[in-house]
């Protein structure tokens, strides 16, 4: 029986947050209003997505103060808890791509790792920069014009309409196309959170002594390049691309992985 602790915690967080957003529109609650672009917590704490804010700013108009303060608060928060914790603990697309990934493993769709020439893990950083450039050229927040993340979120809150096709497309792409294609290669929001969370304090730590080299963690990890230390060194996962999802901790039968507070002075 595999441990599902962090997986269930994550699903509870994701679904819980989505429900709070949904309830604002449906029942008039005031706990979490708005969408990821900009939200209000408890009716007065502004929150805003840093990358969305950057796009709007690079498109050339000044934004209201609430959004700027909100983007700052979110940036500081994810600097501490790990940037891509957003991806695995909050983003609703994560449930779609995790499902695609799980099916991929069950259907044994990837026997060998495919190396795409122009679709690397770093492609998302290019897309992130390109998104800001396109925003400046066209004069609207470019990624927001097609972001499956907020399309899905607004779909949950206000109804999907034809927007559901974008979510299905991501699912199909990740299932039959590229493994971890969207979250791991393309999504510029994830790229931005990778950068924000570079020096985050909460990290997964590996204990080399306990490891039996079964590689279950690498199989389940959506960003397994960050687990380069497995069975080599007892260090923390310091790569910003780690989503702090904790699946590696769940599947490890040897207690060789666990969340820890990173020592800032050592910075290994």
């Amino acid at each position: 029986m595999k441990n599902l602790k962090y997986l269930l915690l994550r699903r509870a967080t994701q679904i819980g947050l989505m429900f709070l957003y949904f309830a604002t529109n449906a029942y008039g609650w005031h706990i979490l209003e708005g969408t990821f672009g900009s939200s209000k917590l408890f009716g007065f704490i502004p929150l805003a997505d840093p990358y969305t804010t950057l796009q709007a700013l690079s498109a050339g108009f000044l934004l209201g103060g609430d959004v700027l303060v909100g983007a700052l608060l979110i940036t500081v928060f994810y600097m501490v808890v790990g940037g891509r914790a957003f991806c695995s603990w909050v983003c609703p697309i994560n449930m779609v791509t995790d499902l695609a990934n799980w099916l991929r493993r069950k259907l044994k769709l990837d026997k060998e790792e495919v190396n795409y020439r122009f679709l690397k893990r770093r492609t998302r950083y290019w897309i992130m920069v390109l998104g800001l450039i396109v925003s400046a050229i066209v004069g609207i927040a470019a990624f927001e014009a097609l972001s499956p993340i907020t399309i899905m979120q607004r779909g949950i809150i206000f109804g999907f309409g034809a927007g559901i096709s974008v979510v299905v497309a991501i699912f199909l792409f990740d299932l039959f196309g590229v493994r971890n294609g969207w979250c791991g290669h393309l999504c510029p929001l994830g790229a931005a959170y990778s950068l924000i969370g570079q020096k985050s304090i909460i990290r997964v730590k590996h204990n080399h002594e306990a490891c039996t080299n079964c590689m279950d963690c690498k199989i389940v990890c959506p960003e397994n390049q960050v687990l380069h230390m497995i069975n080599k060194e007892s260090i923390s996962v310091t790569d910003g691309e780690c989503t702090n999802c904790g699946r590696c901790i769940d599947v490890c039968n040897d207690d060789a992985l666990g969340f820890s507070i990173r020592k800032l002075n050592k910075d290994s």
């Binding site: 209003e33 672009g37 934004l63 209201g64 390109l130």
Partner: protein
Amino acid sequence: MANSDNNRRKFMATTLQSVGLTALGGMLWSGYCDEAKASPLVLRPPGALPEEQFLDVCIKCGLCAEACANRESNKNKDGTQREGTLKMAKGGNHKLIGTPFFIPTEVPCYMCDDIPCVPVCPSEALDMKSLLNEKKELDINKAEMGLAIVHKESCVAFWGLQCDACYRACPLLDEAITLDYQKNERTGKHAFLLPVVHSDVCTGCGLCEKACITEKPAIFVLPREHSMGRAGDHYVKGWDEKDQQRAGDRKLDEIETHDERSQQAPSDYLNKEIEY
């Protein structure tokens, strides 16, 4: 030596390909965004910045739509919530995804006194300042969401039938829409009651469009830049003292126009076929 040359060639080729693909992606993405924002006939919430600016500044959070749907006045008699005016554009709406808009024939804007949709806007895409009156109070009558126009051929009041549905539905009764009484020459004994919209008062709430009795509304709201003409600066209302000031102190005979035609005597050019 040959090997390093080969490596350099490979590196150059890869770089060139990356740059090319990035440019391709950027162009496709820009093209998509440019098309996506081209939805000119869309009605925005009160206080919205000019469309071009609005599309950027709007952070697509939906707080306005939530405030609109959940306002106190938006309840049925049995306490259940009604559909809000503001909708968030989704795939298939053919409007920039995630931006708020409304369709008068579905749910018009009821012009709430407290304007719940505007103060919640975190990015100031809905500009509260534009809705303040002289006393610095929020005043929905200052909204310029659109402007109603009447298609007189399909409006039955212009046929001589009695209908003043739009006039009665207007929240600015007898100000934004007035009735123009005219004699019906066809019958000789009836009156036309013709609706006339006044663009300086109309907010574009769409209640008239919703109330209109014709199959497809004969009175409808369009964004102001689409339902308004512009005379241009060079027309001066000489009878209007204030407008006349734009012409300065100049007398009529001081104002001379110099162009190709003014170089010649009228007797020369009026008798010839000259194209200007």
